[in-house]
């Protein structure tokens, strides 16, 4: 009996020890307390089907590698929505915009937070971005944005139409461009344009003064920071060249040509359908053609330049998508980690560049081995890296500045400006007044 009692005690004791051990074991293998991932929202401007898909895929990859965040990407966002959201305190964690012209507004007002302390904390030097994107992501020294891929502009030409017209190489000067445009143009019996060699009308597709003037080497601002449009002869030279070609076509004929259903971001775009033999366009068109008209036989080249400035050949105009963190952000650390990844790491920039055929925006990603070689696209990488490539000024009046310039040249091309030089001088005064007004000075520079 005593033996049985002793055995029972040992058994119970052993059971208790085993149970305790088991309990310890269960406790030690149980998962740690899981915290819910932080929800981040990213706003992007991309709306075209394939473009938004590519951006979402890159963000999703980051999302998978970072279980601490769950990211939602919203496309089709413009600056109006961004400003409205910041004002109402409902801004997302990360915002991006196609419109680098408005950086002055975002940085100057504090609508996008200053990224300098965050860059400093993580030892990131802004010189990792080439000069043009480094410039258009700050305003008066305040950096509230970083570049997320760049756009630059060059010449697209239809090889089949070139061959039929006996043209052997893309034009390198403005004289050659005008001559080729005339050779390539086909009209019907009434003189209406069936195939335009080149359409120089300002406002058509990507034809804006800021992109054109790069080829004439003209300056935007003088040493005092005032408009140089009235004093730099390059502006008048471009205006006369453009007007001369428009007059050869007939302004009304070009307008009638443009009135066809050839919208820029649709598969019926005129260059893609062979109605336009040469076109001034951004690097993204390579991806559009690949997706919409893969059989199109075409080539890309730098934009022809002023005959008097052959040294500019190979350069081009650069601007691009900007990304930042809006004021009032709820998850700043996580938002910054994502912005840092998207803008400074080679991998996401290379993947985005491959998918969107936009130019990657760090010195190092430009040479990334991940970038899929493409003869059409490599032209734009070279333009981006050219030392004489440039961008337009970032000023307090934002896009209104370049719109005013565009409005003037649209009047000029339509024959509404009688005295070009006087008109340019008046435009320069107007632009200075506009900047002063945007700073709150009532238009008195």
């Amino acid at each position: 009996m005593r033996k049985r009692t002793a055995a029972a005690v040992v058994l119970i004791a052993a059971s208790l020890v085993a149970a305790t051990a088991a309990a310890r074991s269960v406790h030690s293998t149980a998962p740690k307390e899981v915290t819910a991932p932080t929800k981040l929202t990213v706003w992007a401007g991309w709306s075209a089907g394939h473009e938004l898909k590519v951006f979402k895929a890159v963000v999703a990859e980051y999302d998978r590698k970072h279980p601490e965040v769950a990211i939602n990407v919203v496309g089709g966002i413009d600056d109006n929505k961004i400003v409205a959201a910041i004002r109402s305190g409902t801004a997302p964690d990360v915002v991006s915009s196609f419109n680098s012209y408005n950086v002055g507004n975002y940085c100057g007002s504090g609508g996008w937070i200053d990224l300098a302390p965050l860059l400093k904390k993580d030892n990131i030097d802004a010189s990792m971005f080439p000069p043009a994107p480094r410039y258009y992501t700050q305003y008066e020294g305040k950096r509230c944005a970083l570049p997320l891929l760049a756009d630059d502009y060059g010449l697209y030409y239809n090889k089949k139409l070139f061959k039929a017209a006996g043209i052997t190489h893309p034009p390198r000067t403005m004289s050659e461009l005008a001559a080729d445009a005339k050779k390539l143009t086909v009209r019907d019996k009434s003189g209406n344009i069936k195939i335009a060699g080149f359409d120089p009308v300002v406002g058509f597709y990507e034809n804006t003064p800021d992109r054109w003037i790069q080829a004439f080497g003209a300056k935007w601002l003088n040493a005092k920071g005032n408009s140089a449009i009235g004093s730099d002869p390059g502006w008048a030279k471009w205006a006369k060249w453009m007007k001369s070609l428009i007059d050869w076509y007939g302004y009304d004929k070009l307008v009638r040509f443009q009135a066809q259903p050839i919208d820029e971001f649709t598969p019926s775009q005129a260059f893609e359908t062979g109605k336009l033999a040469m076109n001034f366009d951004g690097e993204w068109r390579v991806a559009f053609i690949h997706n919409e008209h893969p059989d199109l036989d075409y080539g890309t080249a730098p934009m022809p330049v002023d005959d008097a400035h052959p040294d500019l050949y190979g350069s081009g105009y650069i601007n691009g998508t900007i990304i930042g963190i809006p004021r009032g952000v709820k998850h700043q650390d996580q938002a910054w980690a994502l912005v840092k990844y998207l803008t400074t790491a080679d991998h996401p920039l290379a993947v985005l560049s491959n998918g969107l055929r936009n130019v990657p925006t760090t010195q190092s990603s430009l040479n990334s081995k991940e970038i899929v070689p493409d003869a059409h696209f490599s032209t734009f990488l070279k333009i981006f890296a050219h030392p004489k490539s440039g961008t337009s000024p970032i000023l307090a009046s934002g896009q209104a500045y370049t719109n005013s310039v565009q409005r003037f040249f649209q009047q000029w091309q339509a024959g509404k400006v009688k005295d070009l030089n006087a008109g340019l001088k008046s435009l320069a005064k107007q632009l200075d007044a506009q900047v002063a007004q945007a700073k709150g000075g009532g238009g008195v520079p």
Binding site: G45, S47, A48, G76, D78, D79, N80, V83, I86, R87, S97, F98, N99, Y101, N102, N105, Y106, G108, S109, G110, G111, S190, G203, F204, T208, D252, V255, R256, F257, Q258, A259, Q260, P261, I262, D263, E264, F265, T266, N319, R327, S397, G398, Q399, A400, N403, Q406, R407, Q410, Q411, A414, K416, Q430, A433, Q437, A438, K439, G440, G442, G443, V444
Partner: protein, 334 residues
Amino acid sequence: MSQQVVAGTAGASAPAVPLRTAARRRADWRRRRLVLLLMSPWIAGFSVFFGYPLVMSAYLSFNHYDLLSPPRWVGWANYHYLLRVDPQTWVAVRNTVWIICVAVPLQVLFAFGIALLLARAKSGAGFFRTVFYLPALAPPVAATLGFVYILNPATGPLNTILGKLGIQGPLWFQSPHWSKPALVGLGLWGIGNTMVIFLAAVLDVPQHLYESDELDGAGPLQRLRWVTLPSVSPVILFAVVLGVIQGLQYFTQAYVAASIASGQASQAGDTLNALGYPEDSTLFYPVLLYQHGFNDFQMGYASSMAMLLLLVSFAVTLVIVLNSRKWVHQAVPR
């Protein structure tokens, strides 16, 4: 109660008057409370959606306000820039005056003319009234899109038909000379609401006036001049005032037509500015106001434009109403 006690001590006949006064006051107060209660939804709506924005617009018009920074007082600087510096102001004013001077008389004449014809229709009146009213039901954006499509110079059905007749049609919304007339055409097409009001007024003219005119030997034109026009003149005044105010606020059709005709309403964040296309011919005052406020983020400046528009609307309406005493028939002699 205390009032009654105090009043009662003053004399025998005195209490009756204060008692009645107090009761009347209470009744008045109750009535006022009821009126306030019944009006409260309107008062709330008016205060939130009209009163507050109006006061804030007036305040912001004296500020530099970019929507993101706090407003900063700049005095009359915005008004100075608006009236003395901004070259677009007078372009927009000219376009707005043009649309008012051309579209309003045409719309009044057209609506009145259709109403006269419909009033005389012997058969199918209901059908024709519906046909002429139907376009007014189309939303302005959809109607404008339809017009831009129909008037497309290269592929639109109108120019295609003209082409088959050997006529090269105009560039319509792509031409600075034709864009405003095309918008007037769009306005005439959708004149149904005004037309219905005119029709009611024409049908309301007392028949005995026509009969007595006929007995006096008046012909159709004389009956129109001396009977119909005086009778419907209050409606003409209404249509003119409404048309002028709508002209001063002309926005949606111009915005949509310019965006679509320019072919630039495509990607988010487009850097090209289509407003006013072509060549600022559709840059009306409200379009410019929108551009400064929401594209250029200069809300203080846009507010000064809005305040000026308010003053001009008020002044123009006042002039029309004062002037109307000379030509609007008064039903009750003063």
